[in-house]
Structure formats: C-alpha cells, structure tokens
C-alpha cells in the first residue's frame, strides 16, 4: 500500500538533505550606497564626491575578470551589486541555507583611514541587513564585517550584530594591523564571537592590499594574478597556525573559525607538518594541549572552494584528502558565487565520495554557524 506523504513531511525531508552554501558574495553598487547608513556627522565629514577613504585595489587584475559574466559591472554599479539577482541564483531549490559575504566590505578593515572606515564598516553591516530583509527569504543569512583596525571596537560590533537575527557569523579579512590573526591584539574579537556563538570567517585576500603591511605570499609579492590566485592558501595557513599557536582555542574553547578562499588541498601536507612540529616544540606553546589537527572539525572548518582538481582526472583531490583521518568533518561548502572560480554543489558531489556529501555540503556548516 502506498503511503501518502504530506507537504510538510516532504518539506522537512528536503530541508534535511538541503545544501548549505557558506559563501555567496555581494557588493554595494557604489560607495554612496553606504552614506544613507552613516551617522549624519560622518556623512558631512566625507562627502560622497571624495571616495579616497576606501580605495582597496590590489595590484593585480584577473585578465578575464573576477566575476561570472552575469554579475559583472553594469551601468553605475560595481560587480556583484545586484544582490537580489545573486540571491535568486544562489538560493536554488536544493539550497537550504546560504550566507551572504560582502566582497569590498570585508576589505574595509584593510584601509588605514581608521576612523571613517570604522563608521563605514558598521554602515556596511546595516546595508547588508537591509538587503537581506528586502530579499525576504528566510534561508538567507549575512556575515557581518568588522572594524578590525581597532579590535576592541570590532568586538563591540560583534556584540551589536549578535542582536541581529539574520547575522550568522562575522568576517575577518582585511589585515591593516599587519599581524597574523592569532596575535593577542585580536582576542577581544574572538572573545565576543565565542560568547555570541558567531563563527569568525577568515577569507584569503585580505593580506594583498595597498594599506596592508603584510603580503599574501612568503618570499615577496607575486608579479601576476595567476601567482596570487595559485597561492591563496598561504595567508590562511599563516593565520590559522597563529591562532592555534597562540592558544586561542584554549582561551576561547567555544570559538569557531571558518577558512574560506584557499580550497582544501593544502590540508594533508599542512596537518602532517603542524602535528609533527607540535610534537617536537610543544614546550614553546604548552597551552596547545592537543595536536593542531584536533582543532580541525572541532573549532575550524575549511571551505573546499575553489576546488583543486584536474578536469581530466589527473589530480585525485578526494584521494589526496583521504590521507587525513576524518577529513570530511573538517570541510564545508561555500560556492563563492558569483566569483569567476565559484563551484556548484554538484561539482563538490563529483569531487568527493558520497559518504562525504552530507558533512561537507550541510552538516558541518549546520553546527558551526548561528542559524
């Protein structure tokens, strides 16, 4: 006998298997969009005709453009600024939840003009919340940016956005202080984020900007965009090694960190190396009581995109990652749509064995983000 299934049961079943996309990307159209969100005194301080405060251009440009064709610059707006269209594309029927990251917004903390950019960062978060409210799809959440130039103020912003229901995490990218993110100067941010249950999303690219004293790579600045793109994981390795070594997870055991933008292919070598060195020089960091790999999956997730695999099958990504025990608990999916190198959920399914699909495409993000 056929068993009928109610609509609500079908909906529940669909949600139970739905994808969580931790990385949809957007921009405001022009910086003038933020003025409406600035306190009036600050609007007078920097009139719209003076854009210098937020020049955050990297030295290199992707020769074919940084964005999917449908999201490229049109009219007066910058790329990825049609937020409603981006959300409509990202929120496919099989997507249960998605987070909206701000592209230029996350680079604001890389600008040395601290006081006005602090105000703009708060304005950017208000702008984001309004866009999410306009889209009115309860699957969509936002990742707030932080005025990380002054970590104590960034912690205040964490506590403010923690009161906003649609905010699922906070974004740490631009690195104007020029210190790896484990430095204790950043601890107020981690304390506030852990208290609020908001993960800190660290995205690559924030060490590659004009005002930033660090570099995205070791050994000198790349000369081409291709070099920069190939080495995106370098700064993530620096930041997460710093965070682990500083005992950040000892001090804030509930802190969650998500690493985005560098793929996951670096993990096998990195985890082996980090654990091996920890055995020998653990005395230097007695607050790190477990091998670094144990924090992955527990306190750290790594976005698998951009996927690193040869379309001709020459590079067996899942074979490489399989060399690490419980790797499927350490990774999540962020499409990075509409960036040029974004990945679909199907591409992730193709790249990994079926037993990894649920944890990577849904379960790990479910337990890390505040939904």
């Amino acid at each position: 006998m056929a068993v009928s299934t109610s609509t609500s049961e079908r909906t529940s079943a669909a949600r139970a298997t739905a994808v969580i996309d931790c990385g949809v990307v957007c921009n405001w159209a022009t910086r003038a969009d933020l003025y409406a969100y600035l306190p009036s005194d600050w609007r007078d301080y920097v009139p719209p005709g003076q854009p210098r405060f937020a020049v955050v251009m990297p030295s290199w440009n992707n020769p074919q453009g940084d964005w999917r064709p449908e999201a490229r610059t049109t009219g007066n707006g910058q790329a990825a600024s049609d937020v409603a269209a981006i959300a409509a594309h990202a929120l496919e029927p099989d997507v249960g939840k998605a987070t909206l990251l701000m592209d230029e917004g996350a680079l604001l903390p890389a600008v040395a003009a601290t006081y006005i950019v602090e105000q703009l960062t708060v304005a950017a978060n208000r702008w984001l919340v309004d866009r999410i409210d306009e889209i009115a799809d309860n699957r969509l959440r936002g990742i707030a940016v932080l005025p990380a130039q002054v970590p104590l103020h960034a912690a205040e912003e964490v506590r403010r956005v923690a009161q906003v229901e649609c905010i699922a995490g906070v974004h740490l990218r631009g690195n104007v202080l020029g210190k790896p993110f484990g430095h204790p100067v950043f601890h107020p941010i981690y304390e506030a984020a852990a208290e609020a249950g908001l993960p800190v999303v660290i995205e690559s690219g924030g060490d590659a900007l004009i005002d930033v004293p660090t570099q995205p790579t070791a050994g000198g600045l790349p000369m081409t965009y291709g070099e920069f793109a190939s080495l995106q994981a370098c700064s993530l390795m620096t930041h997460i090694t710093s965070i682990i070594s500083a005992g950040t997870f000892k001090t804030f055991p509930d802190l969650k960190i998500v690493l985005m933008g560098g793929g996951a292919a670096w993990l096998p070598w990195y985890l082996w190396r980090a654990d091996a060195e920890w055995k020998g020089i653990r005395r230097e960091i007695p607050w790190v009581e477990v091998p670094p790999s144990e924090y992955f999956g527990r306190n750290i997730l790594v976005g698998v995109g951009p996927l690193a695999r040869g379309d001709d099958g020459s590079f067996d990504l899942s074979g490489l990652l399989s060399s690490i025990d419980r790797i499927e608990t350490m990774c999540c999916y962020g499409s990075l749509y509409p960036r040029w190198n974004s990945d679909s959920a199907d591409a992730v399914r193709d790249a990994f064995p079926a037993s990894w699909h649920a944890p990577i495409l849904r379960e790990n993000a479910e337990r890390f983000y505040r939904w």
């Binding site: 204790p184 500083a246 001090t251 055995k279 653990r282 007695p286 607050w287």
Partner: protein, 116 residues
C-alpha cells in the same frame, strides 16, 4: 634476576643533568631531579635518537600565553627531535601509548645502582 649494576658515585649525578651510563650492555640515561633518581633507556622510540637531550619541569597553561611550571613533574626530551617523555613513567607526553623503558634505581652508601 641479576644484581643491580653500580653506575657511579652519588655525587656524579647533579640535579637536572642527565648522564649516560652502561648497565647490562644497555645505554641508560640517569637523571637526578631534586632528591629523586630516575633511569630510562637512552633510546627514543621515535627515531632511536639519544634520549638525554635535557630534563625540564613539565609546564601547564591555564590560558594562551600563560605558563605554570610543575616543578615536581620532570620530563626528559630527546636530543634529536625534542619529543618529550615523563621521567617517572617513560610515557610520551603527546601519546601515552608511546613509552620509554624505565628501570629501578637506588642510592646506597654513596653509590648509585640500576636494576636492569
């Protein structure tokens, strides 16, 4: 069981300074820590390096950046890759399943004896 081996005068073993002796054909690291004596096989289970790189107190840490020295809990570390072992138990600090052989040691009439 053979008789304990005389490995030297008690005054030859200074606090915290491991000294390698030979007993029953084996290299033994002998360590004095305050009033206690310890004896361990001088072979690291990692890559068979000399175990007696040094002896230091174990450290604890209430939070990142803070250190508490546990003076009564000494550890010995290998000279090659600095893997650490509890001096009393011979167990590796990062993996208690990994263990260095420890031996009975005693001080009598100004001499030190190891029972191998």
């Amino acid at each position: 069981m053979s008789a304990p081996t005389d490995v030297g005068a008690a005054g030859d073993f200074a606090h915290g300074a491991p000294r390698v002796v030979t007993a029953a054909g084996r290299e033994i690291a002998v360590v004095r820590w305050d009033e206690e004596l310890f004896a361990l096989r001088n072979v690291c289970p990692h890559q068979s390096g000399p175990l007696c790189g040094g002896v230091v107190p174990r450290l604890d840490s209430p939070r990142g950046g803070d250190v508490v020295s546990l003076r009564t809990s000494p550890i010995i570390y290998c000279a090659w890759h600095h893997w650490e072992f509890d001096l009393r138990t011979g167990k590796a600090l990062d993996d208690p399943k990994l263990r260095v052989k420890t031996y009975e040691i005693l001080e009598r009439d100004g001499r030190v004896y190891v029972n191998v």
